[in-house]
Amino acid sequence: MDLFAQTLVNGLLQSGLYALVASGLALAVGVVGIVNFAHGEYLMIGAFLAWAGSALLGVDPLLSLPVIAVAVYGVGALTYRVSIRHVLLAPELNQMLLTFGLGILLQNLALMLLGGNTRTVSTPYQASSLQLGELSVGGPKALAFGLAAALLGALYFTLYRTTLGRQMRAVAQNRRGAQLIGIDVDRVYLIAFSVSCALAAVAGVLVSVLLFASPTVGLVFALKAFAIIVMAGLGNLTGVLWASALLGVSEALVQTYVPGGGGWSDAVFFLMIFGTLVLRSYRGAR
């Protein structure tokens, strides 16, 4: 039973990180209407910036986190200006392929500049752990979960309690209508897309502490984020939370209870994607 409880806790903690990555992706899908296949690459950029800050300047990733968030917000804004903006009205296929190309570009630029090795960040709290009764929780994991929860709280607060958030939701629901009542749609798009990138980068900082930084670290998180937003329904931000929890916990259960589960847990997201898509497409079938 303890093992089970421990597994549940581990899964839930992991899901905080997933929710952070996926909510950014969902924001871009929901507001801008773009499925950003390069989302994982902004995570990768965040992870590398955290590593660089730590290895070169000796700054703890948690301290550099706000700076990184702002920097990657800028990168996102630039991306929006030079590429995304030009395909907003193009067929879905073009949008998809454009962000896909962007992802390949960023990943390979990183490979070119930094090589394929993984870079680890060492922090004083890396090996720490919290004792909650019978359960033990890794310090960085708990920290990451706390940060993710705080950020998600801030995101939801912004979306539901501020003018900007209302504008975003208005644009998400009806672009033309939003335009007619005087909302600067282009600006809202820019902000939503950039925030989405910044969220990925923050997740990247956490990933650098929990795992490592590498040029390809983004892909697997992006894939899982896809699974989450597909399960939540494209652009559905609230659905992201429970879908992330489901993915995190399922993975943890597979890791604990399936023999050789470490290798198989990476396939859980795929079953979720397929399960959801098949179910949905056949329920939609008339």
Binding site: R85, H86, V87, L102, I104, Q107, L109, L111, F274
Partner: protein
């Protein structure tokens, strides 16, 4: 030719088709003839190296063209690496089981084609990004499965040794790759010139309309998957037999899905010449870059894909000014 639309509204699409003429096939034949003559050129001291680049250019051509055949039915797949890898692994395992190579090759292709029917059936009703995400995930899972099979079966994460194709004779290997590319070209032309063309194009351009007009989407979408994936598996066999050693990470690498997609879009979607031509240009560019940088040479594909979408939606084939030329093959 379509200039870039500021609104980005120019879809990735082909020009309306005109009646076909034989003249349209000439560039294709010229390309194949040049490729056939390549090993007989005085290649000097670097002959072996150049022949290897040329070999993988042919493999890239098979991959791009086979990807395009699937795309013609409206299925823009990110699972091509899966079938390439299944071809490579299928071939290696069949050889291990004692099959002669000449039998292992087609059987591996058919097995991969069969596996594609499973994916095709599941993704039948999906479109756009849902389809892309599902195919992307499929690749990752096939890799996970191969990697997690007992090491005695498929070599696990380390990989498998594969006996060299045709005893390692690089000219013979090149000839085989050429033959398989020529075969792929024939299949592509057959798809283009028969009723399959109308079925695929109709499904791509309006699935519901196609169904109302009696096009059986189940049959044709699966057929597209089967043809495309079997051909991709042949490319995988060539890869396995040429490199002697395959591992899950490289064989099922996303790059093997990206390259054919980019090559086909860059060369000209839904044509036969475009993807082959695109492979010729991009694979050489990749090799040149690979010579100067060790990592990240795939940046070419990212850049080319973005630029093609933004400025060249019809690819190289869209650059031709001679519109009287007849239908693109």
């Amino acid at each position: 030719m379509s200039a870039r639309n500021v609104e980005g509204g120019t879809p990735v699409r082909a020009a309306p088709r005109r009646e076909l003429t034989l003249g349209a096939a000439l560039p294709l034949l010229a390309f194949l003839a040049l490729a056939a003559l390549f090993p007989f050129l005085p290649l000097g001291s670097r002959a072996e190296f150049l022949l290897q680049i040329a070999f993988f250019t042919l493999v890239a051509g098979i991959m791009a063209l086979s990807w395009d055949i699937l795309a013609r039915s409206g299925q823009v797949s990110l699972a091509h690496a899966a079938f390439y890898g299944l071809g490579a692994y299928g071939y290696a395992l069949l050889l291990k089981a004692g099959l002669p190579w000449a039998l292992a090759m087609p059987v591996a292709a058919l097995l991969a084609g069969g596996a594609s029917l499973i994916l095709g059936a599941v993704t039948m009703r999906l479109s756009g990004m849902y389809f892309a995400i599902a195919t992307l995930a499929f690749t990752e899972v096939v890799r996970t499965i191969i990697q997690n099979l007992p090491e005695s079966v498929a070599g696990g994460a380390t990989g498998l040794l594969v006996p060299a194709l045709l005893g390692g004779n690089s000219r013979a290997q090149y000839a085989l790759a050429w033959g398989l590319l020529a075969f792929t070209v024939l299949v592509s032309l057959a798809v283009r010139l028969t009723r399959l063309h109308f079925a695929f194009a109709a499904i791509r351009q309006g699935e519901e309309t196609a169904r109302v007009l009696g096009v059986s989407i189940v049959r044709f979408k699966l057929l597209a998957f089967f043809i495309s994936s079997s051909l991709a598996a042949l490319a995988g066999v060539l890869y396995a037999g040429k490199t002697f050693f395959i591992n899950p990470l490289e064989t099922f690498s996303l790059a093997n899905s990206i390259a054919p997609l980019t090559t086909s879009i860059f060369g000209g979607l839904y044509t036969t010449l475009g993807p082959v031509l695109g492979a010729g240009v991009l694979r050489v560019a990749e090799e040149l870059l690979h010579n100067s940088v060790k990592n990240g040479y795939l940046v070419v594909y990212g850049l080319v894909l973005m630029l093609s979408i933004l400025w060249l939606p019809r690819g190289l084939m869209g650059l031709r000014r001679n519109k009287k030329h007849g239908g693109d093959l």
